[in-house]
């Protein structure tokens, strides 16, 4: 997590940004850029695995006799166990499918919650100004200065293990950057005609924010959300790996990797299988993010968690 904390470096777009001219062309013709197509296809593949997870077997079924070699080692790839078994003789394929399901659920829910909280803070601070702005934006500074992993471990201590805990942690840490993004955007639009005419017509502040400003945040947030989702997937795995997210025996890519670490010298597939899954899921979100930026070059500055 090199993205830990820190304010965004002005004028730095995220790496891998596709050329603006190709993007402008794609936008005019309404075609999807190749990155967007590839990312969406990859994500769709994982969504289907997540939905069909029960078809791949029971992730909790331990088979200490049939699922291990005679000397008690995990099985390699075979017809009965397409991705082998783990140290407890559980099917690695079944665990993988459920791990992917966990990752995607976290990516979707935590993405929505963190961006909603952040956008609300940014909108209120940017529109109303005054003491509210000072309080909210200093709070955002605090949020950005928090050492993420440590803060996550502290919050983890407050709650019982499970999906809710992971989502709460990610929301508590990931709202600050979108808050700053939205705040900057509101400041840019604050004195535009459509906002001031809304006010002049006597609409209340909240109404102007809700009806006139919020819709303008949409492209920004849609572009940011796949990057945020990628961070959420990585963070869930990190938390579960550190024992502060989703606890065994529930399958999560992070705790599968943690199991794989213990078997590194004799069963490397227990690391490689979940590692490949997490890499590809994150990559699908990043490709979608790059594709959206290519379609909308004005938003090329939207970057990954403050970088």
């Amino acid at each position: 997590m090199t993205a830990e904390a820190a304010s965004p470096a002005p004028g730095t777009a995220g790496p891998g940004a596709a050329g603006a001219t190709a993007g402008a062309r794609a936008r005019r013709t309404g075609r999807w850029p190749p990155t967007l197509i590839a990312g969406s296809a990859l994500l769709l593949f994982f969504v289907m695995i997540a939905i069909a997870a029960p078809l791949f077997g029971n992730p909790l079924h331990q088979d200490l006799l049939g699922g291990l070699t005679r000397t008690g080692l995990p099985l390699g790839i075979s017809r009965a166990h397409p991705l082998g078994t783990d140290t407890l003789g559980r099917s690695e394929l079944a665990r993988l499918a459920y791990g992917i399901r966990t990752s995607l659920i976290v990516a979707i829910i935590a993405n929505i919650t963190s961006i909603t909280v952040g956008a609300t803070v940014g909108l209120l601070a940017g529109f109303f100004g005054g003491p509210l702005e000072t309080i909210l934006m200093r709070l955002t500074d605090v949020g950005l200065a928090l050492p993420y992993t440590l803060a996550a471990l502290v919050i983890a201590g407050l709650m019982t293990a499970g999906l809710t805990r992971v989502i709460v942690i990610i929301t508590a840490l990931f709202w600050a950057y979108p808050a700053r993004l939205v705040y900057g955007e509101v400041l840019r639009l604050r004195h535009r005609g459509f906002v001031e005419s809304g006010e002049a017509m006597g609409a209340s502040g909240i109404t102007v924010v809700r009806r006139h400003l919020a819709p303008h945040m949409f492209p920004l947030l849609v572009t940011y959300s796949p990057l945020n989702a990628a961070s959420a997937v990585v963070f869930e795995a990190t938390l579960s790996y550190l024992g502060a997210g989703i606890n065994p025996p529930t399958a999560s890519l992070g705790n599968m990797i943690s199991d794989g670490q213990d078997a590194l010298s004799y069963a490397p597939h227990l690391l490689l299988v979940p590692a490949a899954a997490i890499l590809l899921i994150t990559m699908s979100f990043l490709l979608i993010g790059e594709g959206l930026k290519a379609r909308n070059p004005d938003l090329a500055r939207v970057s990954w968690l403050g970088r």
Binding site: T2, D141, A145, L264, T282, L287
Partner: protein, 306 residues
Amino acid sequence: MARTLTRRLIYGLIAVLGVAVLAFLAEFVIPGDPARALAPRAQSAAVLENIRVQLHLNQPLLVQFADYFANLFRGNLGTSYVQRQSVASLILPRLVYTGWLALAGVVAEVVIGGTLGILAALYPRVRAAVNSVNLTLLAMPEFVLGLLLLLIFGFRLHMAPVTGGAGPAQIVLPALTLGLIGAPWYAQIVADQMSDSLSSAYVRTAVAKGLTDRDILRRHVLRNVLSPALTMIGLDLGSYLSGVVTVEVVFGWPGIGLLAVQSLQNLDRPVVMATVIVGAVAVVVFNLIADLLRMYVDPRTKEEPA
């Protein structure tokens, strides 16, 4: 300039204090009794009560809060519950180890990222390849990359030690992990800035003036690349010094991140507080240094950034 600096310092101080207050309150809500963690097998309530009195845990939250922050302002970070020594003396050697790792990591990412970026800028055909390397590295979680390097170079090729520790041999893989994870950001900045610069009017002028390629690269191109790269280096040093928790856990590197994780498990509140505060200070200070350096290298950025 001086006003900007003062304002930034005050904001930074507020942010650090906010982090400290949050951490203090959070630690109190964490279920678990430090006295019981210290004496897990103690049978009598009197023993536990005795420990609580010694650690001032029997006092109300507000009193403990006031005590802690009064001490903090005097520069006293308290005493570790578990190690029975001052937190400052406990944390300092760990900070040194984290400092070495942070430095090695930043050097690695600048070298790897810079090379990738320069290649992409000078040879357009390499650019697509560099972009896919970037994307793969970006998508890779830190601890996964660490474990993969450990598997390849440690367990398969026997080129690196697989046991924890803190020596020149043990720093290679964690530093390489940080370097590879951070490299795409540098590669991107260097590639973008260099291509912009190479096609700029001032480089064309320099060519027309008859300067050698080397002089043009050094005097005109690299100077423009330096400024955003410096900002990034500052940000990275700050965030790495706040503890590279996952990398330190994967490789057993005895830095501040590993200390923080262990102290959290032991409910060693003063140590956890100190690691969180040191981390926040590092982030804020290095952000500031990065901005100052950038103003120095590139005077155009002296105006207050939005």
